[in-house]
């Protein structure tokens, strides 16, 4: 009898020790947050992103395979601002995982604390298209918001895995140092093009534009989420011609037919601009994202000149 008790205690302790070393399972809506969680969490976390970097983050299918991922998650990181409203709420409800419900420690809204732009100052209606009543949800395209997100992730990971706090703090400090250095590099590269007027396909880039001093003068979509219309396309052609706009930035998941038509009529160049990690295989992490986009922008501008 005593030996069985001793054995069971040993087994219990061993399993506790094992669980203490088990990796935290982090599920994120976007690959950008997964990249940040990987950087900050190191080998104490394993991450999975629901949306791929080359996918329209508004339209992700609520696949049951995601229910399985969420059912085992310790932490769910979302963009918030209703970006995931079309697929995430039913997945969370079916996850059978209390830990990741909104309001629980395992639910992190990455937008909290970030610089959120385009918060509506008037009553919004759907006559304005697919507007987000809490502000523009594409905020991670400002690297300073990436810093805020990384800090929030580090704090939350430490809450869920107190033993890893020192690791998370060290990883965060290293990330911030690298980000700061990279930011000055990116700013220096972008400085000659400060004030450049651009047209984008969807309203995904106000944070990027603010961070790198670009001016977005129009969108190919007449209203958020509404596909291009002939009259609006004509307006954009006139706008690009009048304001000498050199570039049309298009997210990888949009049809380039209308942008290419506009480019042909105006002489502006179409540039595929990646809003997320994983948009193409070269963009492996959050730093790569800006490296790639900044270089692409600079090269396109030089080519245009």
């Amino acid at each position: 009898m005593r030996t069985t008790r001793v054995v069971s205690i040993v087994v219990l302790l061993a399993s506790l020790a094992a669980s203490a070393h088990a990796k935290l399972r982090v599920v994120t809506s976007l690959q950008d947050f997964a990249s940040i969680a990987d950087t900050v969490g190191g080998d104490r976390v394993e991450t999975f992103a629901l949306a791929k970097g080359y996918q329209d983050p508004h339209f992700v299918d609520a696949k049951p395979s995601f229910i399985l991922k969420l059912s085992r998650a310790d932490l769910l990181i979302v963009a918030g601002l209703e970006l995931e409203i079309g697929y995430l709420p039913p997945l969370i409800d079916q996850s059978r995982n209390e830990k990741i419900h909104p309001g629980s420690p395992g639910y992190l809204d990455a937008s909290i604390g970030c610089d959120i732009l385009e918060r509506p100052t008037q009553v919004v209606t759907r006559a304005m298209g697919d507007v987000h009543p809490y502000g523009n949800p594409h905020y991670w395209t400002d690297p300073e918001n990436g810093r805020v997100i990384a800090r929030a992730v580090a704090a939350r990971l430490a809450e869920l895995d107190p033993a890893g706090k020192a690791t998370f703090d060290a990883n965060l400090a290293a990330f911030e140092e690298r980000l700061t250095a990279k930011e000055s590099e990116w700013r220096a590269k972008m400085a000659p093009f400060a004030g450049t007027r651009v047209v984008t396909f969807h309203q995904s880039w106000p944070n990027f534009a603010k961070a790198f001093k670009l001016e977005i003068v129009g969108t190919v979509e007449p209203k958020p989420g509404i596909p291009p219309s002939p009259t609006h396309t004509l307006e954009i052609i006139n706008l690009i011609t009048a304001q000498k706009v050199p570039l049309i930035l298009v997210e990888p998941y949009f049809d380039t037919k209308t942008p290419r038509y506009i480019a042909e009529k105006t002489g502006a160049a179409v540039l595929t601009f990646y809003p997320s990690v994983g948009g193409i295989p070269e963009i492996k992490d959050y730093i790569d994202l800006f490296d790639y986009d900044v270089n692409a922008f600079v090269n396109a501008m030089r080519g245009h000149q």
Binding site: Q55, D61, K63, G86, Q94, G129, Y134, Y253
Partner: protein, 371 residues
């Protein structure tokens, strides 16, 4: 009339506030501003109100059909959705359906979302997880009408909903989603009718879902339902169903191109006067996304009548759907149905050609996209 006064008020407040701010030292610049989420309304009385949505379904029908008569034009259904979290343990969903004949609670259930052992329990009135489309609201179906499997074998176009309890357990097979659902409801819904209070209806549903690649996935379902049918005190009906849905959606161009193929096969065994009737029914349907807002679809179907398998109906349909936005949808459907004889028109087969024009629209809370 009151706006000028309000403006003056606002100005005065702004001035006072501004003076206060000037009196103090300018605050140090904050590198990371933490703005509170914009409160839509600060009235706490409204704060916990459920998310409200209304979906309208308008249907115009051309052609003639003496077996399945419908009005030329009608607001077929107005569905009011009320959804909220109840407490830390559960959420509640109500769908109230207004039609020409009645106002009915289409669904109204409590879902316990915080249970152990990968369980999800629902209590209340719900659409049963029998086959595939019976569990979906008709406004998310890819057609303007119901397929013959519902009409002939599952108690009518509305299908089967019941009052009771649903227990769904996740049984993961590695990375493959697998779920077993057991439902026990009152014996009076869909194809069932209970002579006694103790005659309940039962449904078992097993669902398997796997990603075949990033852009393709397969959804399989196996269902079996059993209950009394009300013909006599102890006559029963048992129905089995097989359903599959194959989806293709290349993630990068997913908002422009996608395709779905789905089908269901029902097999019913009904005990009644004069012996047992074995009836089968099926449909096979496909949808192809032509452009961002355009979908073309087709459906073929056939089903015997549950109470007289000698009568067999079949049909074909072609569907074109346009979505002006996520919140409205225009659909045209051409349908040819051949009703086996004897039917309400003649002793012979009766053929009906019809054109459905459907307009659906949603206001209020943004619901999840159907999957």
């Amino acid at each position: 009339m009151r706006t000028p006064e309000l403006h003056v008020c606002a100005l005065v407040i702004a001035l006072i506030a501004g003076r206060g701010a000037f009196a103090q030292e300018a605050p140090p610049p904050q590198p990371t501003p933490t703005p509170a989420p914009a409160p839509a309304t600060t009235q706490t009385a409204n704060y916990f109100n459920p998310a409200i949505s209304v979906i309208g379904n308008f249907l115009a029908v051309g052609g003639s059909n003496s077996v399945d008569e419908r009005p030329s034009m009608s607001l077929e259904e107005s569905e009011l959705g009320l959804q909220a979290v109840v407490d830390p343990y559960a959420r509640a969903d109500f769908f109230i359906s207004f039609s020409d004949e009645e106002v009915a609670v289409e669904e109204g259930f409590l879902t316990f979302t915080a249970l152990p052992w990968d369980l999800l329990v629902k209590v209340g009135r719900m659409k049963l997880a029998f086959g595939k489309i019976n569990s979906l609201h008709p406004h998310v179906w890819p057609w303007a009408d119901s397929p013959l499997t519902q009409d002939n074998l599952l108690g009518g176009a509305e299908g089967w909903n019941g009052d009771g309890v649903s227990l769904a357990k996740l049984i993961p097979l590695g990375e493959t989603f697998s779920e077993l659902t057991l439902q026990i409801v009152d014996g009076d819904g869909g194809p069932f009718a209970a002579p006694k209070r103790s005659d309940l209806a039962y449904n078992v549903h097993y669902r398997l879902f796997g990603d075949l690649s990033d852009s393709t996935n397969l959804d399989l379902g196996l269902s079996y339902a059993f209950g009394h049918n009300g013909v006599a005190a102890d006559t029963t009906t048992g129905i089995g169903a097989l359903d599959f849905t194959f989806r293709w959606k290349p993630l990068r161009q997913g908002t422009y191109r996608s395709a779905t193929v789905r089908g269901e096969l029902f097999s019913s065994r009904r005990e009644q006067d004069g012996g047992t009737q074995d009836a089968i029914g099926w449909y096979l349907a496909a949808d192809y996304q032509l452009a961002k807002r355009w979908f073309a679809g087709a459906r073929v179907e056939a089903a015997e009548h549950a109470d007289d398998a000698a009568i067999k109906d079949d049909g074909v349909a072609a569907i074109l759907t346009f979505w002006p936005s996520e919140f409205s949808q225009l659909r045209a459907e051409f349908r040819q149905r051949r009703y086996g004889g004897p039917n309400s028109v003649s002793a012979e087969t009766y053929t009906a050609n019809e054109l459905f024009l459907q307009v659906q629209f949603a206001i209020g809370a943004h619901g999840a996209h159907p999957f």
